[in-house]
């Protein structure tokens, strides 16, 4: 356990993480894990995160050590695609029983590893630790080591019991396991000046294949993709790449950064969602490879491909313009990915509402990204009824969001499109963007909506539940407005910091009582912004809004 906590600490110290860099020593110790609220928490565990990050390695046997809950309730639930082995989709678990809990599960784990090797002979086995065996002290590192020696095969311990933290911690712990046990353990047959790693891409719905043909055309070789459609051996020799692209936010930043540190592989953070982002990423890959010794003509060829693909994509999108005229999209997601599609949506003539997106210059996008980072929290905290009101108030024609809010949209008879994880279509690269437009058009113009919005023959129009929900919300608002005491209560109860559940009233009182003038001061007294820090902006606004006399009076 001590080595696990050391690893966790190390992950928290990640200097590549922008959020971390702004934290004090003490804060960093506490890590990015916000304290979960019993009875009010959502989201997967660290084991879930580790599995998400590593399961797309297709030829590996993924063996979960724990009772049936961890694997039995969750297997075969990800949409990554494989071009070869289907071993990754099979499920292996020790399904620990009561006897194992009493006498320890190490023997069963060892036997399980042997069975998997005998039956499936994979190039490697990843063994995932979960909570119960961690509690009873099963030492998976020791078992993996013994099994690896005995069977002459890599058996990699992934130490990520669920209760150490949330999914994103699990992503990083998975990365640590790769760095410690796999990367750099084999050598490629040959190398080229065009070898890159893609880090943090899971090939969901096979969408990376919407981009890969372009890389192939340019002669750029993906030495290893971590982990979508990845293979164990490629991972083991990935340290010979010339450059790396890190996609999908910061899930595996530790891998990218440590590979730079250890093997001198420079990386950049990029995305293949959206036309502009795709072009930028291709350019950046070419630039880095040239810097590492690839011939300069690579850039010319890259520019030619970009010009051709962009022209094709814009031409394809052109046909949607009349269909999208005056149509409004409500974007609800904190996902960074979705921000790179904003430009393309606007280019196609859609108006984005519900957020403060106006132009889509680069700086704007950055700012919005930040803004939506906060809103993502708020949306998680919103009641479905509030969300419905937001839909109505925005007068949106379609909602794009992650899976969580789909029920609200669908029940409200509102066209909806999933743009997060569990969707069935790929939206990557130039082709993916056009596909996204197609899907939006299909959803918008489906004749079903008009039928669903009609009241049942025995209902009067206007007394359906939608109308009732709106009336209730309005009535509540009116009631609150009419009662100044309640109104003040409600105003003060507005949550500002979602991580630490701190409301406006608490912050105002603290400001008044201690004459605070800075976010740090507020944090000291209320713990607000002590979590992800996304509410800093809101606290600044509150500080500005405080009348000066109040401050003085409190002195």
């Amino acid at each position: 356990m001590s080595s696990l906590s050391a690893t966790i600490q190390d992950v928290f110290n990640e200097p590549g993480c922008g959020k971390n860099a702004n934290k004090t020593e003490a804060e960093r110790k506490k890590g990015c894990t916000k304290q979960l609220q019993p009875g009010g928490a959502a989201g997967g565990c660290a084991f879930d995160g580790a599995k998400i990050a590593l399961q797309p390695f297709t030829d590996v046997a993924h063996l979960v050590h724990g009772p049936i809950a961890c694997e039995g309730n969750s297997w075969d639930n990800r949409g990554s695609a494989s071009s070869g082995s289907d071993l990754w989709r099979r499920s292996f678990t020790t399904d620990m029983n009561e006897t194992d809990i009493v006498f320890g599960g190490e023997k069963r784990l060892y036997k399980a590893i042997r069975e998997v090797i005998e039956k499936y002979d994979p190039p490697a086995i990843f063994v995932y630790q979960t909570c119960v065996p961690a509690m009873i002290g099963d030492d998976i590192n020791a078992v993996c080591k013994a099994a690896a020696t005995k069977f002459g095969k890599p058996v990699i311990p992934v130490n990520s019991p669920g209760f150490v933290g949330p999914k994103n911690l699990g992503n990083k712990l998975a990365g640590e396991a790769l760095l410690e046990h796999v990367i750099g353990t084999e050598e490629p047959d040959y190398t080229t000046p065009y070898d890159i790693n893609i880090i943090g891409e899971y090939n969901l719905s096979g969408e990376f294949w919407q981009v890969k043909p372009l890389l192939d055309e340019l002669g750029i070789r993906i030495l290893s993709c971590i982990s979508g459609d990845g293979k164990y051996r490629e991972l083991a020799y990935s340290h010979r790449a010339k450059a790396a692209m890190m996609v999908c936010s910061k899930a595996m930043i530790n891998v990218a950064r440590k590979m730079e540190e250890r093997y001198g592989i420079p990386f950049f953070e990029g995305s293949f969602y959206g036309i502009q982002d795709s072009s930028d990423s291709l350019r950046e890959i070419a630039r880095m490879l040239i810097e590492r010794g690839a011939p300069a003509e690579l850039m010319e060829r890259t520019e030619a491909v970009i010009a051709r693909e962009e022209a094709k994509a814009w031409a394809a999108i052109e046909r949607f313009k009349p269909r999208f005229k005056d149509k409004k999209v409500l974007l609800i997601t904190g996902g960074v990915k979705s921000w790179s599609v904003v430009a393309a949506l606007q280019e196609a003539g859609l108006e984005i509402v519900g957020t403060s997106v106006k132009k889509s210059t680069k700086e704007d996008k950055e700012r919005i990204k930040e803004l939506m980072g906060q809103d993502a929290h708020m949306i998680e905290d919103m009641t479905p009824r509030e969300m419905y009101k937001m839909l109505k108030d925005a007068k949106a024609d379609i909602m794009l969001s992650g899976g969580k809010s789909q029920f609200v949209a669908l029940k409200a008879a509102m066209p909806w499109l999933d743009i997060n994880q569990e969707r069935c279509h790929g939206y990557m690269g130039y082709i993916g963007m056009v596909k996204l437009m197609e899907e939006i058009e299909k959803a918008l113009y489906n004749p079903m909506w008009a039928q669903l919005r009609k009241p049942a023959p025995w209902d009067d129009a206007g007394v359906n539940w939608q109308a009732k929900a709106m009336a209730q919300m309005d009535a509540q608002a009116a009631e609150i407005a009419a009662d100044p005491v309640r109104a003040e209560e409600v105003r003060r109860a507005k949550k500002i910091c979602f991580c630490k559940t701190v409301d406006l009233g608490t912050i105002e009182d603290a400001i008044a009582a201690h004459g605070l003038a800075t976010v740090d001061g507020v944090k000291e007294h209320t713990n607000a912004s002590g979590g992800c820090g996304a509410c800093k902006g809101r606290i600044e606004d509150i500080l500005v809004a405080q009348p000066a006399p109040v401050l003085q009076a409190a002195e």
Partner: protein, 460 residues
């Protein structure tokens, strides 16, 4: 008599089984205004929740006590207390249903003790309905979690009744096993009502997870049976338990209230429904409505039409005990051979499955057996999809979870009508498979060199 054996493997491959805490939470989802709460780490709830959402394609309420590593060592009193208070304040539920998990059972949290303390400390919760069930992950399976949880609901929520108290003769308690879909419950409700009976379903997933559009957005369950209705179940004339797993709850009901019960282990197939309908006619004192006489005729006709395709099929089935027993028996009675049967947990019905052997195992076992015994029809839940594509035999999805096809909540197997639709679906699947994969060719019947061997066509 089938011999029941348990797999000896150290590594379960492609599990058929799911954990019992989520079976417990599933039962709580059939209560009105309920919030199922798992006492464990956040991941346990998250996985369960995802599974239910993917199956029903509905928003599903479920919460966690969010045990951290430290809390699992120190004990979970504070987490349980905070969770209950938070849920109570934020979602205003009518009941909170708590199931333990492997994480909290390993430490051995005394949750009943916690609840007593919480009620003392927070007088406003003194009477608030809280039901706790111990359901460690490292024992038993999904169906057991449901079984224990419903039995516990009866013990805690049903008001005891004086011996000799007046009963409402039209009222029946219905205790459905977890193998019935919301669609099945709706079908049963109609049947009861057609006999003039007033059924109370415990739990009632038809009210909560049938995909209707709610009048209100609520964070807890919508629909389902209310706590008040459960309390008065002791006034019913009869309890009808469906599936052997519900015997425990039916017995608890009888012990508490004196309401006699009748257990129907199966409701799929002609004979089981004859018994069921006859019983309803008897307790209601009404003749069987014309509608069911006609439906029986339709089922008989459907059996005639479909037995050509189902008869002789070699069935490989993987399901929890009650579903396995029900479906495999019906198909056996249609002339199929139950060649491979794999289940998740022990049950008294298993030895009566019409197979040589029933294995408590996983989907790898089922796949291997199906291959070795040349099975040509596979029935299991959605996790069987990989096996089906490797075996290349017709695959019918039944049970929970069904995440890769739509309409899971409405799939029927009970009643004359449900059985009728099911045998049609199965026969059509077989016909479709024959058309796609087993068309005769000029060489199909050609004698080979040895002069004796023929390549048999796959025509059944």
């Amino acid at each position: 008599m089938a011999i029941v054996t348990a797999s000896k493997k150290a590594c379960s491959v492609n599990p058929l089984k799911m954990s019992q805490p989520i079976g417990g939470s599933f039962a709580f989802m059939g209560l009105r205004g309920a919030m199922p709460l798992l006492h464990g780490s956040q991941g346990c709830t998250s996985f369960g929740l995802t599974l239910f959402v993917r199956h029903f394609k509905e928003a599903v309420p479920m919460q966690t006590t969010a045990m951290s590593e430290v809390a699992t060592v120190l004990g979970g009193y504070e987490n349980v207390e905070q969770a209950i208070l938070n849920i109570y304040n934020r979602t205003k539920p009518e009941i909170i249903g708590i199931n333990s998990t492997g994480v909290t059972e390993t430490k051995g949290d005394d949750v009943e003790g916690f609840i007593r303390l919480i009620r003392q400390k927070h007088p406003h919760l003194e009477k608030f309905p809280l039901v706790y069930v111990s359901t460690p992950d490292f024992k038993d399976a999904f169906q057991d979690g449901w079984e224990k949880t419903v039995a516990r609901m009866v013990e805690v929520l049903v008001d005891p009744v004086e011996a000799g108290a007046a009963r409402d003769l039209a009222r029946v308690n219905v205790l459905p096993g977890c193998h019935l879909t919301p669609g099945d419950l709706d079908e049963l409700r109609t049947i009861f009502e057609d006999f003039g009976l007033k059924p109370s379903f415990l739990p009632d997933l038809a009210g909560s997870l049938d995909g209707h559009i709610p009048d209100e957005f609520t964070p807890t369950t919508i629909g389902g049976i209310g706590v008040d209705e459960i309390a008065s179940m002791g006034q019913a004339a009869w309890t009808i338990a469906i599936g052997a797993q519900m015997k425990r709850a039916a017995e608890a009901m009888q012990e508490r209230t004196g309401v006699p019960f009748r257990l129907f282990e199966r409701l799929c197939g002609l004979i089981p429904n004859d018994e069921f309908i006859a019983f309803l006619s008897e307790i209601s004192g009404r003749p069987v409505p014309l509608k069911y006489r006609r439906q029986r005729g339709q089922l008989a006709d459907a059996m005639l039409d479909t037995h050509f395709h189902i008869g002789g099929r070699k069935l490989a089935i993987g399901a929890e005990p009650d579903l396995l027993f029900d479906l495999s028996s019906m198909l056996y009675e249609m002339g199929a051979e139950v060649a491979a049967a794999v289940t998740t947990t022990t049950s008294p019905v298993l030895e009566r499955v019409k197979a040589q052997e029933v294995l408590i195992g996983d989907l790898e076992d089922l796949e291997d057996l199906a291959k070795a015994r040349d099975c040509d029809l596979l029935i299991t839940h959605s996790h069987g999809r990989q096996a089906a594509s490797r075996l290349k035999i017709p695959f019918y999805r039944a049970g929970f979870p069904m995440f890769d096809r739509l309409g899971a909540g409405h799939q029927l197997s009970v009643g004359y009508r449900g059985t009728r639709d099911l045998v049609f679906d199965l026969a059509n699947l077989v016909i479709g498979d024959r058309e796609a994969n087993h068309q005769p060719t000029p060489d199909t019947w050609r004698t080979t060199d040895s002069g004796l061997q023929v390549v048999p066509p796959q025509l059944h």
